[in-house]
């Protein structure tokens, strides 16, 4: 019984870390226009809409965060193998992984923008300097929290996988949670505040993203500020719940019978499917012109 109580405590701590990680991850990716909003940021200059939005598509969020967290975990593993204290090892691993993330971000922005020279899109050096550092700060929080929760799963809960493999798995899960939950808020809402709410993006509006702010020209820190409030929190809750519920069902039910943990997992998926469907139908009925798609096209 005692180890179950201890396990639930670790589960709660891991869930809290995951919530912070998810929130930071979504804000980071939104400041870098990573994920699905990226195509519109890339397209805008080609349609004649030059902008000062940061564009650092390294890869989709799941593979990118798979690398950052796996790298952070791998470096932390190596430092621990060198008999360095785990706390220091995880911090050093996260710092180095963040350095790699920052370098990738600069080369992605400069490369993409240079390839758009034909359309007159300049490289803004001030954007490069100010946005990269902000994304690195958020990425550090996301990587540190994820590697820490992987270390907790490995040492406190006794998971058999080595730290780098856990980093890979939970990094991909983190990227997927941020990409699926937080991104639409930036890609479908923030970029198209000049369109009718809930109308989707008609082809005629492609690339016509909002480029001007309340005062002056909008940049990606404005987008990060906007999405941190709801998109970031939603991503945090999403990843936090994934980590918490996954560990909770294992810690509580595996002790009784390993099959119970699997049955509870399947039941959870069914319950969430029903909840998701209910919320989607309710959302469509309550907001937006989705009920008559033909009118939207006209």
């Amino acid at each position: 019984m005692e180890h179950i109580v201890f396990g639930i405590g670790i589960t709660a701590l891991a869930g809290a870390l995951a919530t912070v990680a998810g929130s930071a991850e979504d804000t980071e990716s939104n400041i870098g226009s990573q994920g699905d909003p990226n195509s519109q940021v890339q397209l805008a200059p080609q349609m004649g809409f030059l902008h000062r939005i940061f564009n650092k598509a390294v890869a989709g969020e799941p593979p990118a965060y798979g690398l950052w967290c796996c790298l952070g975990a791998g470096l932390a593993w190596a430092f621990m193998a060198m008999q360095i204290n785990p706390v220091l090892a995880i911090v050093l691993g996260a710092v180095l992984a963040t350095f790699v993330q920052g370098v990738y971000a600069t080369t992605a922005y400069v490369g993409r923008t240079a390839s758009l020279a034909k359309f007159g899109q300049p490289v803004f050096v001030d954007i490069l300097k100010s946005m990269t550092t902000v994304t690195m700060a958020h990425a550090f929080i996301a990587i540190f929290c994820t590697v820490t929760l992987c270390h907790l799963i490995n040492t406190a809960l006794g998971h058999p996988f080595p730290l780098p493999l856990l980093g890979l798995i939970w990094g991909i899960a983190l990227g997927a949670a941020g990409s699926a939950t937080g991104n639409p808020y930036y890609g479908k809402e923030r970029q198209y505040q000049n369109q009718k709410f809930g109308a989707g993006v008609p082809i005629s509006a492609s690339g016509n993203i909002v480029r001007y702010a309340e005062a002056g020209e909008r940049n990606s820190i404005d987008n990060g500020w906007f999405t941190a409030k709801i998109g970031g929190s939603a991503s945090g809750i999403c990843f936090g719940m994934i980590v918490f519920l996954e560990l909770w069902r294992t810690v509580v039910f595996e002790a009784i019978n390993p099959w119970y943990a699997i049955i509870v997992g399947v039941l959870m998926i069914l319950i969430f499917t029903v909840i998701d469907r209910y919320i989607e139908v309710w959302g469509r009925k309550t907001y937006g012109p989705y009920t008559a798609p033909k009118e939207a096209e006209a």
């Binding site: 390294v58 890869a59 990118a64 791998g74 593993w77 490369g111 300049p122 780098p164 980093g167 020209e217």
Partner: protein, 282 residues
Amino acid sequence: MSVKVEVIEGGVPHNTILIAGVVSTLVCIYLTYLNVVTQTEMFSFFGGLAVVAALVWGSHTIKVLCSYGIGTGVPSAGMIAFGSGVIAMLYATRFGMLAPVVALILAAIIGLVLGWVSNNILNMKIPAMVQALTEMAVVGALTLMGFAALITGTFGFEGLTTGTVTMFGMTLLTHQNSFIGGCLIAVAFLLGAIAIQHPFNACLGPGWTQDRMLMLTAECAFLSMIVAAIMSFALISAGSAIISLVIAIIGWVYTYKEYMALSKRDAHSWLDSKPIPDVEGQ
């Protein structure tokens, strides 16, 4: 059949890059064998140089393949390269000194089958698919072998699965403190998979230039080599790891500066704290 959406104009022909890539990668991996000959770990850094050579070749293959609208993102090409390459690499490590050549042949066969499946069963019908997937599987396998040699000093199965741990002054053999047992292979997998796809993903567009993209590949490869060299401190002697680290840092600083200079050359303009310029007709 898929339509070719981008054209390669000028630059070094792909076949030249292919031949140079295969030869230099194999030579660099074999140079790490000097570790066994001289009973040291000083030559591990050649594994990192093999990674650089293989990735430069592989990123150009991705350019050839992704010039067609393949219907999936550029990053997927990096994932399939390493996903198919890791099987060949792991199997080949059992063959001792022949490992790099076995990895090359086996990966080519796996890539060929995957290319055939993609074109004929999944009906993707992309002309470059079979050759590109074959090349990328080989690149994936050889890059992983290069990382393995860089981090552990060897590309043999025993060396990759066995490490040492010191307890109360006693040195014990363990499988947990090793390249495969500690799953550093997962880190090598993703370091390579992102480094191989990023250059084309970051440089695609109407203003694509070959020299800029290949310089970025070298930069990504040296950056990966830096972190891999830091991880190698856990498995090889500190002096050998420092040699790898210093070479990686020098290579990275040089290629990063060159890449920024090439981007400045290709960019429309390079502005600092300026508003959005006016476009004609607005």
